[in-house]
Each structure stands twice: as C-alpha cells, then as structure tokens.
Symmetry: C2
Subunit: 181 residues, 2 copies
DNA sequence: CAGGACATGTAACAGGTTACATGATTAT
DNA sequence: ATAATCATGTAACCTGTTACATGTCCTG
C-alpha cells in the first residue's frame, strides 16, 4: 500500500522510466522503502491502469526504447490524500539480531565475525549518506520546503547508521572481552 | 527463510504452543522479526513436517487443548548451520520517511503531526525496553553467554529507539521553525 | 452480558523474491 | 571475447496480511 506512493513521490520529483526508478530506489528512497525492478514494473502498470500516471514511449538510438512515466492529476490528488493519512510505524526485520540472540546455540565466533562484517557494510553506507549531505546540502540552515524535507530524511539515514555502528561496537567489545575472561 | 530460525531460537529458550510463540513475538523477538499468529502456525506445521520440531498435545481444563512444540536434534543442527551462515543486512520499511520526503506535495502540517505521533509511540517503546533492561539485566557487566546476547539485542532496540526519537525532535524543530520564518 | 484472553485454524489475497528471457551497446 | 549497462518483461514461488470461524473461561 505504500510502494505506489513512494513511486509517486519519486516521479513527482522527476519523470522517469521503470529502469530509472529502480536505480533511484537502489540509491536513495529504497534505503527507506526497498523495491526490486520487477516489483516496480508491476506496480507501474497497475498505477498506469488506475490513471495515477501516464507514459510516453521514447525511442533512443543505440539503446532500447523506454517508457517515461509522469504523475497525472489523479496521481497528485491520490498522493495528497495518502499524505494526510496516518502511517504504520517503521518495520525492521533484522536477521543479525536473531542470530545474536541465538549465538550460544552455535558458533559464537562466527556470529561475532558476522557482526564485524555488518559493521563494515554500515560504515560504507554512512559514508555514502555523508557524501550526499556534503554535496547536496552544504548549508542545511538555509533549507526549506522540499529540499529541507529531503535533507531531514537523509539525516534519519545518517542517525540510523551511526546508531547501528555504535551498537556493533558495543556488541564486538562485549563479546571479545567475554571470550577472554 | 529466517522466521523458521527465529522460532527455533525462541523454542530453544523455552518450549511452547503457537499461541504462546505469537505472544512472545509481540513482546520481544518480534521487535526485530515481526510475525502474526497465522504466519507462525503455518511455519510451525512446515517445521514439524520437516522434523525440526516435535509437538505434544496438552489437554487443559477450562482452556482449549494446545500443542506444545519443542526443538528436535535435527532442528538444533539446522539452527547451528544457519547461525554460521552470513545474513542479509537488516531491512527497514519506513512509510514516515516516504511521507516526509513528499510532504510538500500535500498537507505539510499533517505530516508534522504524524511525526509527532510516531515520536510518542517510539517513546513508549523505549520505555518498554528500558523497563525490561532494569528488570532483567540490572548488572550488565556480570553477564555472559546467552544472557549477554539477549542483553545486547535489547541494547540494539534501546539505541534504535533513542536514535529515532532524536531524529523526530530534529524534524519537528526544523519544520516548526521553517513554518514561522 | 459484553469483551478480552486462550487456542487453533482455513481461505483469499497482496506483496516481495528469484530465475529466466531478450537484445543492443559500450567498456575492459 | 567477456562483462556491464540499458531496458522491459514473464512465470513461478514464497512471505505476509486480512478476514473469518469456533468455542470456553474469566473479568468487569
């Protein structure tokens, strides 16, 4: 019920093809609402049928044709309607937490190595976010409207990754000192 | 592919019925791996068929009969096998972030109110976690093994909620001062 | 007497994943 | 030559959600 709306937000910012949307989801909005290209194609068709978006076939030389989608008036009002509704709280599905909880039922050292691996991945993601922040929002005090909202979402990503890294460090430290005591 | 393993972890800690598992998921492990009772019943049957768990029918007076499940040897080795595997990074699906990103395309004030509502819900959840921490782990320095791991998972929950609250405050402050400038 | 907890389940549907298919261009 | 990028799609499958069904006991 919300992939449609995530796509409406993204397409309102800029029109694009299914493929382009899938790239955007990989790089930005998908950190908060992940989606594969198959999901996106399926939902785009449904939205097109419902009249929330329209498409234009664009021929390209050397590359396959693409369908560039843009948001219709109906899509805009549907988005406005959805924005005024309450949303469910964020859903987190963290296999690493499940593993840590069961660590003593298997190879504890392997779970610790897995925590270290995740720490490295999240450190990379944090650097990505900080790069975007420096490049796109160098003066956050001056922002308002859409740009401010985009910046604030990014800040959420930065905070979440910082928090995750801090947790990994706490886990790594506690598990290391446990095994040597 | 991991609800099975979350259930194995929970059932190893303590045997129980599908209903009891569903309650546990609501209160603890489900904060990191949510599941409804229907999902749990379906997966329990599959695990029973696969021989990872066994059940005993327990008659109760005044209450319906229940099937108490416990983990078999095969289940234990499956869990150990899974624990040594890499896990995918945590998946976050946050409709509030999508709304904030699109806020300027609708009623910005309504989105702000929604952020305030989520802040309150997460404050409650944080208090729940802190209550468990005080009750079950009053002296965290002394912990090791399974208890240490349970404590560390809870710490992850506390950190995540603290981080979320901090983000909400940042958003609320930025959006309020924007609308008055 | 209404509502909630206890206990398990079926059925239908919506959402998400994985594998495969096609075919051109560009970079290594 | 090989792989990667661009671009769209089908099919099969698994996971997750919502609604409904049943029946007892306990509490307000």
């Amino acid at each position: 019920m919300a992939l449609e709306h995530a796509i409406l937000v993204s397409l309102t910012e800029r029109a694009g093809s299914g493929y382009e949307l899938a790239r955007r989801f990989d790089r930005s909005i998908g950190f908060f609402w992940p989606a594969t290209h198959q999901q996106i194609y399926r939902v785009l068709r449904r939205m097109d049928d419902a009249g929330w978006i329209t498409h234009t076939d664009v021929a390209q030389d050397g590359r396959p044709d693409k369908k560039v989608y843009e948001v219709s008036e109906d899509g805009r009002s549907e988005l406005a309607r959805w924005l005024a509704e309450p949303v469910d709280p964020a859903i987190l599905r963290d296999g690493l937490a499940v593993k840590l909880r069961g660590a003593s039922l298997g190879d504890t050292a392997a779970v610790l190595r897995e925590v270290e691996r995740h720490r490295a991945e999240h450190a990379t993601r944090l650097e990505t976010y900080r790069g975007i922040q420096r490049r796109d929002f160098p003066k956050p005090d001056k922002l308002n409207g859409r740009e401010l909202h985009q910046y604030l979402v990014l800040r959420g990503g930065v905070r979440a990754e910082e928090s995750f890294l801090g947790w990994c460090d706490e886990v790594i430290q506690a598990m290391r000192s446990e095994s040597t005591s």
